[in-house]
């Protein structure tokens, strides 16, 4: 059953968008404005961004940060040396990614190529020579802006917004296979599902694709308003959450369970459903009125599948809104649930640029936020993983507490008052203090959230069946 969206409206919307773009680009002097979202597709605007890319090592407490001057630093919790990576070809770094099941290989998406740094984990050198870098380039495949490693560690996907083909690299032999399709332009965002079975590839146009990673066939999903901004997979690869430019909602798309027997089928459901409406709302706080809400620019799901963080950016027209990180509590089985949980805000003037979860944090989840001031803060979320069948969400209180690295004051904290989706049997439990509290967080108490307003505003979009339809 393939239901297509009524064409005329879609076209009309598209026309308006194009007109608007053209009007905007008329004012721009030299740089074509429409190029900007192409080359920098992610939530990293050029102005005020001091960190270009961030990536946690998938197995150890080690991360790589790409700075504005295109150098990359590798921080390791167990060593004091901070290698700084520089290479002649390392220009306009847009993404970094560590190879899974490997200690030392870091892929860097550059202007003209993909660089693979081989960093000896036992080396004490702070400036690895450029001989440690392997260069993967392919004619016509530039600029490379997104990378994704297969969780099994053998393949690397690289994509460029101006190249219609996505490349699958066998990095050890430097051979690649082009995955080509026609229409839709290049690829602005790639996300490989943690179970390795599917890949999300967003394009600059109002279409995104979900590839199945065995036979490499894809399902094409046209969206209504704009391009797919970001997306993230549940740990078992059965659910995809994504957001679309121009809409302040989170969509969910579920996939049939992957068993390996249905070769060459992606198995997506027919429609995407709206999971949360994040449109702008006003909250009364001690510090006055706060306006929160807008488009989601970046979204990450923690490896246990229990917390979701999203950067929400208010519309630039409205003055009072701010960029803020919203935290959600999620549950994938038996029924998918997305419960609002709290907000994170940086210091005054600091806007969150990139967020990532630590891939193997033992006691809950560790959210890392790169702020526009250049600060990177780690925010531990302590909870007991509710993988068991009897574990209820009330056993996992979440306190967004700031780490020592940034002094930030959490605005709200959600205290299990249930809400629209909360289980009715929830015991009314007061706030459980988190085992470790940051210095900043300790001083300001947590305010109980006004559940009515919060959930009233954000919970109205629970009805599934709206939104997108797949075109088979």
């Amino acid at each position: 059953m393939c239901v297509c969206y009524p064409k005329p409206r879609e076209k009309q919307l598209l026309f308006h968008r194009r007109l608007w773009n053209r009007l905007r680009s008329m004012g721009a002097p030299a740089l074509p404005r429409c190029r900007e979202p192409l080359t920098l597709p992610r939530a990293s605007p050029r102005a005020g961004c001091s960190i270009r890319a961030f990536s946690w090592h998938p197995h150890t407490s080690k991360f790589a940060v790409a700075l504005l001057d295109d150098s990359i630093r590798v921080y390791n919790s167990s060593s004091a040396t901070i290698p700084s990576l520089k290479h002649r070809l390392q220009r306009n770094v847009a993404a970094v990614a560590w190879k899974p099941l490997c200690a030392s290989i870091l892929a860097v998406a550059c202007q003209s190529c993909v660089l693979l740094w081989h960093l000896d984990p036992t080396s004490l050198s702070t400036r690895p020579s450029s001989g440690c870098a392997q260069v993967l380039c392919y004619p016509g495949h530039s600029p490379v802006t997104s990378l994704a490693w297969a969780p099994s560690g053998d393949l690397l996907l690289s994509a460029s917004p101006v190249d219609t083909a996505m490349l699958v690299w066998d990095v050890s032999t430097e051979t690649c296979v082009q995955l080509q399709w026609f229409g839709g332009g290049g690829v602005t965002y790639l996300a490989w599902s943690p179970d390795g079975s599917k890949v999300l590839a967003a394009t600059p146009s109002a279409v995104f694709r979900v590839w199945e990673a065995q036979m490499w066939t894809c399902e094409r999903w046209p969206t209504i308003t704009g391009r797919c901004q970001t997306g993230c997979w549940s740990p078992d690869g059965s659910r995809l959450l994504f957001t679309v430019l121009g809409e302040s909602v989170i969509y969910s798309l579920s996939f049939s369970e992957y068993r390996g027997e249905m070769q060459g089928q992606v198995g997506g459901s027919k429609t995407a459903s709206i999971m949360a409406d994040l449109s702008e709302t006003t909250f009364e706080t001690l510090h006055g009125e706060e306006r929160v809400g807008g488009e989601v620019h970046s979204m990450v799901w923690d490896p246990t599948g229990e917390r979701l963080a999203a950067i929400i950016r208010g519309s630039p027209d409205a003055p009072g809104t701010q960029t803020i990180i919203a935290l959600f509590r999620t549950r994938n089985s038996p029924v998918f649930e997305l419960l609002p949980c709290g907000f994170l805000r940086g210091e005054r003037g600091a806007q969150p640029q990139l967020i990532a979860f630590h891939p193997c944090f033992q006691s809950g989840a560790l959210l890392t936020v790169c702020w526009s001031t250049g600060t990177i803060s780690h925010i531990p979320l302590f909870f007991i993983s509710a993988h068991g069948p009897c574990a209820s969400p009330s056993r996992s209180p979440v306190l967004p507490s700031a780490s020592a690295s940034v002094r930030e004051q959490p605005l709200f904290s959600e205290l299990d008052e249930g809400g629209a989706w909360g289980p009715p049997t929830l015991p009314h439990q007061p706030h459980i203090p988190s085992p470790v509290q940051g210095r900043g967080a300790a001083s300001t108490g947590y305010e109980p959230l006004r559940c009515g307003a919060w959930c009233g505003a954000w919970g109205s979009a629970g009805a599934p069946g709206l939104g997108l339809r797949a075109r088979c």
Binding site: C102, S104, S172, G260
Partner: protein, 672 residues
Amino acid sequence: MEPGAGRQRALLRQVLGWRVAAAVAWSVLLLPVCTAAFVVLSGLDPFHPVRWISNSFNDLYTSYVIFCILLMSVVILVVSVFNAEFYAVVPSIPCSRIALIGKIVHPQQVIHSVVHAVMGMLVAWCAAVMTKGKFQFLAVPCTPSESLDDAAPQMCLNEYHLFFLLSGAFMGYSYSLSYLINNMNYLPFPIIQQYKYLRFRRSLPLLIKHSCVESLYFVRNFCATYYFFGYIPKVWISTTMDLHIDSKLHPLDTLTGLLDISLFYHAWLCGVFLLITWYIAWLLFKIYATETHHFPVQPTFAEEPDLCLPRILNSNPPLIIKFLALQDLMLLSQYSPVRRQEVFSLSQPGGHPHNWAAISRECLNLLSDLTQRLITQQEAAAANGRAKQPAGELKIPLQTPGAVAKEGMSFQSQRSNIIPRASMSSMVKSSLISLKASPGSDVGSPFSSPALNGKMGILDVKSPWHGSAQSPHVMRRGPKLWTSVTDLHMNGSHHESFPELSAAKAGHEAVQPRFIYTWLQNKQEQIKTFLSKRVLIMYFFSKHPEASIQAVFSDTQMHIWALEGLSHLVAASFTEDQFGVVQTTLPAILNTLLTLQEVVDRHFKLPHVSSKPPRVSGSLVDTSYKTLRFALRASLKTALYRITAVFGEHLNAVQVSTEHKKRLQQFLEYKE
């Protein structure tokens, strides 16, 4: 032997037969499309587009074209038969230029070349007939001369037609040559699985581009050849067929004759047509032959037990079947929980893990064979570099392959076989170091250099490896730091025959004074240096280090799949193995992988071994066999990490040697 061979052939036919048939069918079906394109392009007339198009479409239905298509189908069939007969999953890599020349003049290759040249001529004849105009016939009436008294018009040789035919033969031969030199018979398996149509579509633009460029080179070369030797066939044909040579027309084997744009264009187009049709047949065969084949893990009633995965792996099937089976193992271990469950299952009466035992045994055998091969190669390389190599150690790995192959179900014994090998290699190292540290102290030891022995006048005849250590084959090979498989076999036979030889030699030497021997050695050395200074000889006989290393790793795709299959299965067994069948083999697997890891690491530390793969350009001809060793290194590491990441601290309970335990700890801490 006979029934075994018969069964193998049946197996091959069963698995590969329909693939070849489908590939041929598709390439024949695509032929009319290519022919139509050729007809349209050959009648190119940019100034009268309407007439051009209408004429070309009229031409398509003529009997000429239809007959040509039929003839070309036969040509495609013959070319496909050659593709199917000459394919190889393990490329043969000539290590020196003389080996390459030997390959070219090999009778098989000569037949290949001759048949392709004839086929090329047929294609060119078809092309000439379809092009029409001045190319169509070999014999044309001569242009009437001024002396009108000749009533009967004479038949003259149409040199254009002859040029076409010869260019076709030349291109067929060139194709055959490039097929050999570029190892185009090698079947590279794709890095990702894709549908056949998509693979074909992906390669098609590359194929067309490659054919156009290649054809340009071929035509250029042919023009040069024709310029110099064109008169020979011309005279020969005209005399045997009693045709005259038209004196009015320009002869083609002159500069002005060859500078004919139309001739050049049509010859080039004919070449493109020939190459595209042949490359399509080749590409389709490649795509069909490397497609995955689904081997059942457990025999059902309907299927033959011969086609089961464990049975195939353990028998000695044709290589392509083995490759397909290992590829299928890799895929099932990665993607199919249901089939993994079959691997981990127990046999119904008896409760033995036959499937797992057979699969893991074969994978481990493959990997330990590779380990031995690498050890032998490294030690041969080390022996080339230094004369002090304790050659006796070489014999240990040479004896083991048979022992391992004969090993049955007992993994315990296999493990005990592997551990000493690992310690042996470190022993080699330590002995070498001690030798370097104290050269004077080991005068009487069997490891001491023969030169030193000679000086001291000590001859230890009883030492079993004295002969081999002293043999000029090991010592005097000069500073050659690489070797190849063929070389290894040679070495092996040498070492086995040395003890007797040396004993005889020693008896002789006991009578003869020592200086004769040294004089002989000196002479030999002089001859060698004399020969090595002759550039031509060195040019032909010098071994290319890169090629030798490629030759060692030429069949490593098997080992990569075995590694991936094993590691995925072991990782999956953590949650899926209900009966614990994998646990019993885990120590053996870890030992094999760690030993191989050590040996591969050491291989990449050898001089002349580049640590980075050479740049592969995106060309039609696949050269992935050149980089297999890098793939092996990467997938070996990934395989170990895959196991350690899943098992984690539980691995500390697995019985491995302390050295390997240290190594495992490094893997657990992500420090490798």
